[in-house]
Amino acid sequence: MAIFNKLKDTNDKTNLINKRFFYMIIVVILLSTILFTRLYFLQIIEKEKFSTLSKRNQLTVIPFEAKRGLIYDRNGKVLATNYSIYNLEIVPQIAKQSKVILERLRSLKLITEKEIKKFNNNRYKHRPYEPVIIKENLTEKETAILSTYLFELPGIYISAKLVRHYPYPKIMSHILGYTGLIAEKELAYTDSNYLSHEQIGKTGVEKKYEELLHGILGYKQVEVDAKGMIVNTKNFIPPTAGDDVYLTIDIELQKETYEIMKNYKGAAIVLSTKTGEILSMVSVPGYDSNVLIPQSKDHKKLKEIFQNPNKPMYNRAINGLYPLASPIKPFLAIQGLEKKKITPKYQLFDPGWYKLPSSNHIFRDLSYNIGGYGWINLHKSIVKSSDTYYYHLAHLLGINSMHSILTKFGFGKSTKIDLWGESIGLVPNKSWKIITKSQPWYKGDSLLVGIGQGFLQTTPIQLAQATMLMANKGKGYYPHIFDKSIDQFGSIQTFEKKSIPPIKLSKNIYWQWIHNAMRGVIHEKEGTGWRFGKDAPYIAAGKTGTGQIISLHHNDIIDKENIPEHLKDHSSFIVFAPFNNPEIAVAVLIENMPGSALLARRICDAYFSKTGILKNTHLNKNNT
C-alpha cells in the first residue's frame, strides 16, 4: 500500500504540474503575442516616422555659400564689391592631435592662449567634420607664415570668406544700404536659403534686391556616422551666384552732388524726367557703410555713427518729412485754373496778410514780406511767391479740391521707389482730421495747406516726382533706381518701369502758363529764385520754398535771430531744365539753412556740363 500511496501521490503531483505546464504554454504564447503587437506598432504603423528619424540621423547637408552679386552704376562702375578675408580653420576630424597642432600654431605666434581656450570650449558644439574658425581676418604676414608651415599641420586650413566692400562709402551709403549678419527673425522667412551666420541686406538696395543679390545656396549631402565622421558623399549641388545689379545712378553726378551738399543737412535728388530714373540721390550727412559690416569691428567709428546728433543713418531723401512750403504754389495754381477759380488776368491786392471774410483772424505772409506786393496776378504770385494770393486761392478751392490735385501729383502717397522704408507723408483732408485729431476741419486749416504749411508733410522724393510731372505736363514714370540685373549666365533682366496715371487738364495752355511763371521765378529780376538764374547758361523753371517748423500763432512776431538752430526754417528748391525739353527734375532740401537755390544750380550745372547739353540750351535762350 505504501508503494501504491507513493505512486498515487506521484500521479497527483504529475497531474498538478502538467496542468501548470499547460497554463504556462498559454502564458508564453500570450507574451509572444504582446511582443508581436509591439513590433507591429513600431515596424508597420509607425514605420514612416522612424524611417525619417533614421534618415535624419544618417544624412546631413553641408551648405555652400553663394557669391553675393555686385552692384554697378549706370555706366558700369562698381558701387559694391566683395573682397576676401582669410580665416584660420581647423577640422577636428582630420586634426586628430589637435593639442599638438594648436601648440605648434601658438609657437608660430599665429594664435594666442585665449584663442586655444575658446576653441576648446566650443569644439564639442560642432560635428567633427565641420571646420571651426580659430582666428578670423588673418593679416598678409600671418597668411604667408601659415602657408609655409601648412604641410606639417594636418587639418589646418586657410579659408577665404567674401566680405562686402563699398568703394564710395559715404556718397552711396543711403542708396546701397549695407549687409549684416542675418537676424533670427529674418531667418524664419527665408525658405532655408540662408545659413545662420550669413550676410543679408539690411537697408537700401542691398535689402530691396536681396533676392537677386544673394543667389542660391549650394549643398553637399553626406552620410554621417554617430561620431559625426563623414562616411561618404551622396550628392553635390554647387551654389548659384547672385545676380549683378545695375543702378540708374550716375556715380560721377552722385559724387558731385554729394560734394555740393556735404556741408549741409538735407537731401538732393536728380530725376530723369523722360524715364523716372534716379540719376543721383544724396542724403547728407552720409555714413561710412563699410564700418557697419560685421567684419570691420571698428567699434569707435560705429559708435560715432549711432551717436551723431545729425542722424547720418537717416535717409532724408525718402524718409525725411518736411513741410511742402511754397513749391506747392504752382500745383495749386494748376487746380485753380482747371476749376476756373482764377484766370491769369485775375488780380488780387496783397497787403502782406489775408483775412477770411467771415472772421477777424489775420494770416500773415510767412516770407515776412511786410507791406505786401500790392496788386498781383497769377504769374506774379508764383514769381514773387505771394502767400496772400494762395491764402485766397485755398479759400476759393477748399480742402477737397486741394487734396485731389496734390494726391494726383503724388503727395501723401508712395512713390513706389524701389528702396526700403519710404515714408508716405501726409496730405490732410476733413476725414483725416476728424479721425486722428477728433476735431472738425476749420477754414483756417485750408489756408495753411494753401501755402504748404499746416499738417502737410512731404518727402524730397515726392517733391522731385511732382516736379517731373509738372515738367512733363502731367505725365511720367514712377521714380526708380534699379536699371537691370545680369545673372551668372549673362541673361539680362531690365526694370519694368510703370507710368504714373497722367494728370489731364481741360486746356493744355494751363501748363504753359504755370511753366512760364516757374521760369520767371528763376529768370526774372523779381523772381525769388534769381540766385539760381544768375548767369545761367540754360533756361530752367523752378520754385523756391521756405519751410516753417514752428507753427505760427496768430499775430506772433518772431525774432528771427534768436530761433534755436534746429527750429530754423528749411529751405527747399524744385527745378526742371532745360525749359523747352526738360531732361531732369531736381529737388533740393536743406534743413535749418537758407540757400537751396544755389545748391540746385550747382547740381544742374554738374549734370549739364557732363551731358554737353549746355550749348544747345544757350541757343534756346537766344530764341525766346
Binding site: F4, L7, V28, L35, L39, L53, Q58
Partner: protein, 380 residues
C-alpha cells in the same frame, strides 16, 4: 491490486520501449530542441557578422564559445539525472561562496561581477541561474504539492539571499531574473492564483523599499524607461536609437548588412544587448517574428518534454529552466523595443558574449538528460 498490475505493465512497457532507436537517442539529445537551438546560434552568428562589420576575430571568438557550449551541452546531456539532484546542494553552496567572494575581490567595469580564474573570467551569478532553480525545485519536491505558505516563506530565503548578493554587485537585471526563476518554481508547483496575486501585491507595496536599495544608475534606468525623451542624447539615447532601428526596418527590413543605424554606430551595443534591434532593422518584422517564434517554440518544447518526466524534481527543474530561458528573451526584446526598462541583459544564444551561452547550454543539457532518461525509473 489491479492498479499495481497496471502500473507494472506500464513500467515494463516503458522498459521495453527504452531502446536507442535513433542517433538522437543514442546521443541523449532531443532532435527538435537541438535543431531550434542550432538555428538560433546560426542566426546569432549572422547578426553578429553584421553588427561587428565583419570583424572575423570577434566572430571566431564567438564561434569557439558556441562550439564549446555545444560540447558542454552534449556532455551534460550524458550525465544521469539523479546526479543533478545529488549535486544540487553542493552547487548552491559553492555559488553562494563565490558570490560572497566576488563581492569583496571581484573585478569589472564599475560593477563587481567578474571572477578572474586566469584562463577565463566568469560571473558567479551565472552559476546561480542554474543553481537557484535546482535548489528550489529540490526543496519543493521533497514535500507535498502544492506547497504550504509557511514552507514557501522558508524556501523563499534560498532565493532572496543569492538575489541580494547579486543586487549588491550591483546587477539588477540578473537579480530580478533569478528572483523570477525561483518564483516560477512556486507557480509550477501549484500555488494558488490567489497566493500569487497576494505576493505580487506585497512586492508592489515593497517596491519603494527596493527603490531605496537601488543604485543611482539603476534609478535613472527606470526613470529613462518611463520617459526616454526626457534626455534624448543622454540616458534615453539607447532606447530612442533602438526604437528608430527597429521601426525603420519596416516589414522586410533594410537587408542584411544594410542597417544604417547599426553600421553608422547610432545603435549602441549593437553586438550585445541591442542585437535584436539590428535584427529588426535588417530583417524587418519578418525576421523579428521568426526569432520570437523560435524562442516560443523552444520553451513550449521544453514544457512539452517536461510533461512526460516522472520525477517531480526534474519536472519542476526543466519547466523552470525552459520558462527562464523564455524570460531572458522576453526581457531583452521588451527592453530593446521599449516596453521594459533598460536592464543589461543579453539576448540568449544570440548576443555576443560567452558566459550566458555557457549557462544556457548547461541548462539545456540538463533538460535533454532528464528527457533522455525519463523512460528509466529515476533510480537508474
Amino acid at each position: 491490486m489491479k492498479l499495481i498490475n497496471q502500473l507494472n505493465i506500464a513500467i515494463r512497457s516503458r522498459k521495453n520501449n527504452f531502446a536507442y532507436h535513433s542517433l538522437w537517442d543514442k546521443l541523449h539529445l532531443d532532435g527538435p530542441l537541438f535543431t531550434l537551438i542550432l538555428f538560433l546560434l546560426i542566426c546569432g552568428i549572422l547578426l553578429l557578422y553584421s553588427a561587428t562589420d565583419g570583424n572575423l576575430t570577434k566572430i571566431f571568438q564567438q564561434l569557439y564559445k558556441i562550439i564549446f557550449g555545444l560540447i558542454i551541452m552534449i556532455f551534460v546531456a550524458q550525465i544521469r539525472p539523479y546526479q543533478f539532484k545529488r549535486w544540487t546542494i553542493t552547487l548552491f553552496i559553492i555559488g553562494i561562496i563565490l558570490l560572497v567572494f566576488v563581492n569583496f575581490a571581484g573585478t569589472g567595469k564599475g560593477a563587481q561581477r567578474w571572477m578572474d580564474l586566469g584562463i577565463l573570467k566568469f560571473q558567479p551569478s551565472e552559476i546561480m541561474k542554474c543553481a537557484v532553480p535546482m535548489m528550489i525545485s529540490l526543496l519543493i519536491s521533497r514535500n507535498s504539492l502544492p506547497p504550504k505558505i509557511p514552507y514557501i516563506m522558508v524556501v523563499s530565503l534560498f532565493i532572496i539571499i543569492p538575489c541580494y548578493l547579486i543586487l549588491k554587485q550591483p546587477d539588477l537585471g540578473t537579480a530580478l531574473l533569478i528572483l523570477f526563476s525561483g518564483c516560477t518554481v512556486f507557480i509550477l508547483a501549484g500555488i494558488k492564483l490567489k497566493q500569487i496575486f497576494y505576493s505580487l501585491l506585497t512586492l508592489i507595496s515593497l517596491s519603494p523599499l527596493l527603490w531605496s536599495f537601488m543604485h543611482s544608475y539603476q534609478k535613472t534606468r527606470v526613470i529613462t524607461f518611463l520617459n526616454p525623451h526626457h534626455d534624448p542624447s543622454g540616458k534615453g539615447y539607447h532606447i530612442i536609437q533602438s526604437k528608430i532601428a527597429i521601426g525603420s526596418g519596416g516589414a522586410l527590413g533594410k537587408g542584411w548588412l544594410n542597417g544604417t543605424q547599426s553600421h553608422l554606430k547610432y545603435l549602441p551595443e549593437s553586438s550585445t544587448d541591442f542585437i535584436f534591434a539590428l535584427c529588426g532593422e535588417e530583417f524587418g518584422i519578418l525576421g523579428c517574428i521568426l526569432l520570437i517564434s523560435v524562442y516560443t517554440l523552444i520553451t513550449c518544447r521544453t514544457l512539452y518534454l517536461a510533461q512526460f518526466m516522472n520525477d517531480t524534481y526534474l519536472k519542476l527543474l526543466c519547466g523552470t529552466l525552459g520558462i527562464t530561458f523564455y524570460l531572458y528573451a522576453l526581457v531583452n526584446i521588451g527592453m530593446v523595443s521599449g516596453i521594459f526598462p533598460v536592464v543589461g541583459s543579453p539576448l540568449p544564444l544570440i548576443s555576443y558574449g560567452g558566459t550566458s551561452v555557457l549557462t544556457i547550454m548547461v541548462s539545456f543539457g540538463i533538460i535533454m538528460s532528464a528527457n533522455s532518461y525519463r523512460k528509466l525509473p529515476y533510480e537508474y
